[in-house]
Amino acid sequence: MLTFFAKRLGWSVFTVLLATVLVFSAIQSLPGDAATQLLGQNATPSAVATMRQQLGLDEPPVSRFFTWLGSALHGDFGNSLVGGGSVAREVGSALVNTSLLAGITIVIGILLSLVLGLVAGLTRDRWPDISISTLALVGMSVPEFVVATVLVLLFSIYIPIFPAVVIAGQNASLADLLPSVWLPAAALICVLAAYIIRMMRTSVIDVMESEFVRTAILKGNSTSRVVFKHLLPSAMLPTLNVIAMNIAWLVGGVVVVESIFNYPGIGTLMIRSVQTRDLPTILLITVMSALTYVVCNLLADFAAFLLNPRLRYPRSSK
């Protein structure tokens, strides 16, 4: 058991490292660098050369990567090539804003989709199931930027309940963000929930067919007792992985949605940093995203372990 988790942990560290290598190489292969992007079209070659020197971009890429890695391992992620401020502070403040958005999305999204998936599974092929499944299919097939645009049209422009964009910038307070967070969260929930609903429905149907649930029903247990005690723990198992995958996916979805709502989070910062080739910022965001991904997966494994009796009580090998 312990070896299993140690192995998983090792892979996780490797995954994060690999992500930074890939992203570093990808940004290197993009045309231009922070110096050309900053100085723009009126840059004389000598100004670009001076700036490259100032920013340390004249070093060979491999040595720059290892320099960055060395500092990063000591917790120093350097300064932005563009604004000059501490990358950790800037990414940190964006991360707080994104956490608010992601937190609302995850809590509401998961509760909503588990309930809807359960209802769909229990009412298989009847009207609640058909309408929920249809909605989930729509949610799966429509890209988040379309959902976001339609939401803005409906709830900011036709019926002006929510703001269309966040006006306050990177330093927005909770009070600034709270009215604005709901539409982007709704857009993310639409896509996030679709997959979880589908998975939950399938597992509920599977578990309902299983012998132990039938036995529990035949024993005369109340429906609620059957659902909560017998059905849910087993049905949740395969769904956990999908939830973990979807939370990891949020990192990507958040980029598109934040940009549409001008939401001052990680996504907006990422787009701006890629445009300005601000490597230190991009690399820290990469580390954060990769960490989110592996931690979600680790947690899913761990929860699966807790929920699965066969994993908890491994047969003693006689």
Partner: protein, 525 residues
Amino acid sequence: MDSRIEAPTGWLSRRTLLAGSALLLAPAVLAACGVSPSSSTTGAASGAARQGGTLRIARPPASKAETLDPASSLSAYEYLGALYNRLVKLSAKGELIPDLAESWTLSADAMSWTFVLRKGVTWHDGKPFTAQDVIFSIQHILDPATKSPQAGVLSPFVDGNSIKAPDATTVVFALKSPNAEFASLLTGYNCYIIPAGSAATIGASGIGTGPFKLKSFTAAGPGSIVRNPNYFGDKPALDGIEFSSIADTQARVNALLAGQVDLVAQTNLDFATAKTVSASSVATVSSVKNAQWYPVPMLNTSPEFKDPDIRRAFAHAYNPDEVFKLAVQGNGTVAHNNPVPPSEAYYLDYGLGYDPDKSKALLKAKGFDHFDVPIYTSSYDPVLSPLALALQSSMKAANINLAVTNSPADSYFTDVWMKKPLMTTYWYTGRPIDQLLNQIFRTGSSYNETAYSNATFDQTLDAARATVDAAKRKTLYQDAQKILIDDGGSLTPFFSDRITGLSKQVVNYSEHGFEFDYINIGLRA
């Protein structure tokens, strides 16, 4: 990176806009708003503004390195005209008018310019404005450490030591070479005057002499300005302006439609979006006449375009009316390959027109039955791709095959501009003619996007600069235009109006070139 004002540099992520598949003709959009295309800005409501109120402007941020230093290429453009003044500015007709300078004279040999400054002007911090501030501001632009785009424009004529102040209200520029148009170079938006000794602080302090004072500013974030009660000119109608930074074009428009902002700055709406905005109950569109110049630079140093006959073949190869209609729905002015806008006082009504047979004959003489070249474009501006596609279809008849190649917007101006043989680009119009011709077509100049080099053209510009007699000078600038056009130096199909979106509550919005009227703009009474 104030890219879309200088040559653009691709900071902003723009969603690919389907301007080419516009749903209706722009004139219809504007007609719907009761527009008669006469003045430079049409469509905006005029009339009595109420005294006071706060205008909310959404602007595309430059970058985290954004600054309020007007000399910098990273200046936050929308703040500049509100916070600062120049010595002189341009009227809508392109004439020089006083700003911080009351009057100016030039010597008979065009080697010396004397500016008499306004008296009693104070900075936002209460200090008096003097000639020393003017000297410092120009020196700051010329300082290589500032990396100002305007340094290359001014340095052929002045250096840090050639500006003198005989007294507190007089500034004398002793030029290195004659220039009877020198004052027009000081209308550039990098030439706002800042307090002496403020090089290190101006980027954050924003202390100027202008109609508004800085209240707050965050690079690539929100900021606000308030009315300056001690302003020397007419008092602004507004109490203040709040700026927000919104990178995504569609998000800026959404903010306008949702009533969160009153004006979207530096945003050229594609026609589909313009239709949406003009149909809205809270917002409308306004059009700035010929605000954008869309050249198609042929790189003279490339093997494809080093021969002027090939360039001329290209100039005759397309039907400007057709391209104009396809790319911008006839919303602007056809240019016939003259880069000088027709509103310019020294404009020469001349160009190379549509003649596919002549084009084919020119190519044939050079041994080409057909001519194939890629034309680069990007989603940077909604007109670029429709323009490339329109040229592609229009040039087929002259046996010219353009392969339209899309390039990422964020590296378009570092990777394609001045590097690929043929591409689409755009500029804001509003540069004085001397700056336009010298900065973009003179041998070796910083923005020479075609790498054009013609000694006769350069000498004609020098002669024009040295001519004090206005009528003779006009003739020389017109000669220069003819040389450039005949030499295939410019491929300019049209100038396009810029369609911008604003709230129906806004009155007296007016913009031309790089001049924005911060005084009269206000909210409906």
